[in-house]
């Protein structure tokens, strides 16, 4: 095994890197601190974020009456709210896209991220 004093020096001495890190001069010790701080920051951030877990499901009434947003957890089937109303139109359902081509299927689709659903209307 190597004697410890030169190796200690090797760890604290800033050294040059190459490739994309060309011009970077850093010691192993500094990098250790950065790595530990990054990991701590990630854990702390996740912990703070998990104080209010869940995904916001917003409903765009597309001209109809307002529908309040919901917060739901991953993997849950969406509990569809009371349909909105709109003068002169009848409600055709909730859609995944603003142009109302892809309907939300309560049997197959489930919450995987925050999303907005759009109300579809048909003229009476």
């Amino acid at each position: 095994m190597n004697p410890s004093s030169p190796e200690q020096n090797e760890r604290t001495q800033p050294r040059e890197l190459k490739g994309l890190y060309k011009g970077v001069k850093v010691s192993v010790k500094t990098l250790d601190i950065v790595i530990v701080l990054c990991v701590l920051a990630i854990v702390l951030f996740v912990a703070v974020d998990l104080q209010s877990p869940g995904f916001t499901v917003s409903f765009d009434p597309n001209g109809g009456t307002d529908v309040p947003a919901q917060t739901q957890m991953y993997g849950e089937a969406l509990k569809l709210p009371q349909p909105p109303t709109r003068e002169g139109y009848s409600f055709t359902g909730w859609y995944k896209d603003p142009a109302c081509f892809e309907p939300w299927n309560t049997e197959e689709d489930f919450i995987q991220s925050a999303l907005t659903l759009y109300a579809g209307w048909e003229k009476n």
Partner: protein, 360 residues
């Protein structure tokens, strides 16, 4: 590849001969070098306790599906990283090719079909579309590679400009034929079957056909990297371009081809992404390159240049996806995931530098 059991025996034999100080160093080195793996494990255990659903065939299937979707782009971008570069245009190229795929393969009876004169979708037309989008990707890659190789411009500059130019083309493309920027939907059933048809089922999860294609592409890239002279030249140029030039490697063509190959992979990613998105918007593909770059760096494709393995890239994509699946199941919002991604990239780069310095 070393036998893992023999490797462990060697390490334990070395460990028993260490003095106290070396033993402490062994552990700190081990923990720091594997910080991201340990972090992933911690998230997994926590998620498994909070959400029993996490340990199930369904989430394994979900993991396989996601890895298959993100792997091709990482395989492409890895070549650019081996050449001590990177590619910022990947996500937009994927978005453009997804849009082209969508327009080519819309249902013929779809009311909002963008180009009504396109032929009926069948096997041949799907093959033509696939080749077209791969060619589009390769062409943008070729432009990247040409400017990087010819003028020794930094890939960050070249690919940043192609990223913006590609986005401009995407916006222009979405405005064609009175489409007015509307998302492209109404994809034909033949295309959906070709990309997303059921390969087999894993519990409740459907494993789509593109998992098979991802396996084939991984094997192909492994062959290119390890068994062809082009692959060997790529590593030579990446570790020292000047030395490679002196020993007779054509640095110009190697660089151009690596970027072209990467572009072709983004083209294929776009072909699959069209199916995954369902309705393709101008924002499709935004920031995908960040995930791919992070996965490569986590998987040991070093920014120092000249090192990297296909198995490492697969591992990197798997680890990144496991972290994101775990966090999503816990209910961490996707906007927060961006902050975590940023921290992961910084952490992975520090690890990458640390490994290089300790080895030196």
């Amino acid at each position: 590849m070393a036998n893992p059991i023999a490797n462990l025996q060697r390490i334990s034999a070395e460990y028993s001969q260490m003095d106290k100080k070396d033993k402490r160093r062994f552990w700190t080195d081990g923990i720091l070098n594997n910080a991201l793996y340990i972090l992933m494990l911690a998230f997994c255990i926590y998620t498994a306790i909070k959400q029993p659903n996490f340990v199930s065939w369904g989430s394994l299937g979900n993991l396989i599906v996601q890895v298959a979707a993100y792997l091709p782009m990482a395989l492409g971008i890895a070549g650019c990283i081996v050449l001590t570069g990177t590619d910022l245009s990947a996500g937009r190229v994927c978005g453009l090719t997804a849009a082209v795929t969508g327009v080519f393969l819309q249902k013929s009876d779809f009311a909002n079909k963008m180009f009504t004169s396109l032929p009926e979708v069948n096997g041949w037309w799907i093959a033509v579309t696939l080749l077209t989008v791969i060619a589009i990707g390769a062409l943008i890659g070729l432009v990247n590679g040409f400017f990087v190789a010819k003028f020794s411009l930094h890939p960050f500059i070249v690919t940043l400009s192609t990223q913006l130019i590609t986005y401009g083309i995407i916006l222009w493309f979405f405005a064609l034929n009175g489409n007015n920027g509307q998302p492209i939907s109404g994809l034909s059933a033949e295309y959906k079957d070709f990309v997303g048809g059921e390969l087999f089922r894993l519990g409740p999860a459907r494993i789509p056909m593109y998992v098979l294609y991802a396996v084939i592409l991984t094997a192909l890239m492994w062959f290119i990297w390890n068994k062809t002279s082009f692959g060997k030249n790529m590593f030579a140029v990446g570790s020292n371009a000047e030395a490679a030039r002196v020993s007779g490697v054509n640095v110009f063509w190697t660089t151009v081809l690596v970027h072209t190959l990467a572009g072709a992979m983004y083209g294929y990613s776009g072909f699959v992404e069209g199916y995954r998105a369902g309705s393709i918007a101008a924002s499709t593909g935004l920031n995908y390159e960040c995930d791919a770059i992070a996965a490569c760096v986590i998987g040991g494709v070093s920014f120092v240049g000249g090192t990297g393995k296909i198995s490492g890239i697969v591992l990197g994509v798997v680890i990144l996806r496991i972290i994101f699946i775990a966090l999503t199941m816990l209910g961490v919002d996707s906007s927060s995931l961006y902050i975590i991604k940023g921290a992961i990239i910084l952490c992975a780069c520090s690890l990458d530098m640390r490994k290089y310095l300790v080895k030196k």
